[in-house]
Amino acid sequence: MKWRGALTALALTALVVAAGAGLARSAGDSPGQDPVRAVAAGLRCPACQGESVADSRSPIAAAMRQVVADQLAQGRDRDEIRRWFVQRYGADVLTDAPARRTELLLWGVPLAALLGGGYAALRTLRPRAPRVAPVVTAAAAPNARTAGRAWRAMSVGLFALVASVAVATYHLDRPARQAAAPADPIAVAVQLARDLEAQHRYDAAARMYREALRERPDDAVQLRLAFVLLQAGDTAGATGAARQVLAHAPDSPDGLLVLGLAERTSRPAEAERVLRRFLTVAPEHQAAAEISRLVGGVNRVDATAPPDTRSPAQRSR
């Protein structure tokens, strides 16, 4: 019994020491030595994907490092330099830096869990002191109950830990996915447009879609363009884009949807006809419910507030 307790204590100590060593190592390689590198590590290389200015070998990143070095030599501090870059490259130039605080929390949570686990293990495994022997049965009950509670608390805590890491990785995952954009320039343009769209910059997104369409006509992109124009309030443009698709695909549900919504103010009767057609063509469409409500009371609905016409991908954002 005694060697088991010693073994557990040994294992726990080893774990804590290992965690401490890891923490020390991960905290050790940052700032400190090279101020240029410290600032550059906080900047994202605009010419590359997923690399910081400090790590990238691209000429643009090298030039940016030079700028950082020059400005540091002029006595500017880190924040001033970062602001200088944001003015020129936008906030995206910052490696979003989930700040060292949150990184420390990521270490702190497991540490807290470990300490709690150690406490619970001690409670369960510690041999009972001989002098309470006469009343051991009386003592055992509350002791075991507390130990059980401790273990239950720990399992819930562990669950919370796993859940928080899951949530964290979900949030961290997205920039990585965006960074892995395909190399095809048109696909890149479309991806860029989608990002702009997600930021509600519909005019800029429309420009990108148009550019992509000039190079390679595509119905899906044409429909995205129509949606974006509709969002931007350019109903004439949206009508035109939707009609282009409907010209050779008269039953395209999205084409009918955009056309109907776009013409709702200018030609309400025609719009209702188109929207009803949309409902017959695609009763399962994700916008069908909203549209049937709309068609049911087309006069009642505020025409300046189009229903949610975003793509499923966007909705999930």
């Binding site: 643009i60 003015q87 989930p98 009386a138 608390a153 720990m154 890491v165 930021q199």
Partner: protein, 187 residues
Amino acid sequence: MTRRTLRRPDWLRAGPAVVLALTVAVGTLVALGLRPPATSTAGDIAAGTPVPAPALSGVTLDGGRFDLAAARGHVVLVNVFASWCGPCRDELPLLVDAERRWAPRGLRLVGLNIRDGTEAVRALLDETGATALTVLRDPDGTRAIGWGVRGVPETFLVDRDGGIIDRQRGVVTRQWLEQRVAPLLAG
């Protein structure tokens, strides 16, 4: 001996609950703290809203002087290029041709040559028939960074009032010139 003497102190009994509460709190903080940062629209030139062009002046490759501020009243194309960049090589003839055609209508073209050697630029200009191009040198690329250049080639369209009204990332096309530059020119 009563049972009370066998109880652990209150603070020990509360231990597991405290640990649980702490873990949950910390987990929540981590989850909240890692929300992706809001993307800002700063730094990107939306067409139609001119941004004042950064200063650009200096000695040109052929020993003359160029100052963007002195080019007010002209439409200026600032082409960021380098000899080590293949696409730059391809677009130079088009740009030079545009300047030749449109110079009478007020267009000027200036090349900003980044992180390059003098000999290499000269060779490039010879090869592409762009020997007359006004070239400013930017050996360490810092001027280009001041312009917010993201890669080469990149071309900025500066209007007659010295504002950047458009930028083309990547190769300039004839279409872009016709659509974006031509409307700004006189006549």
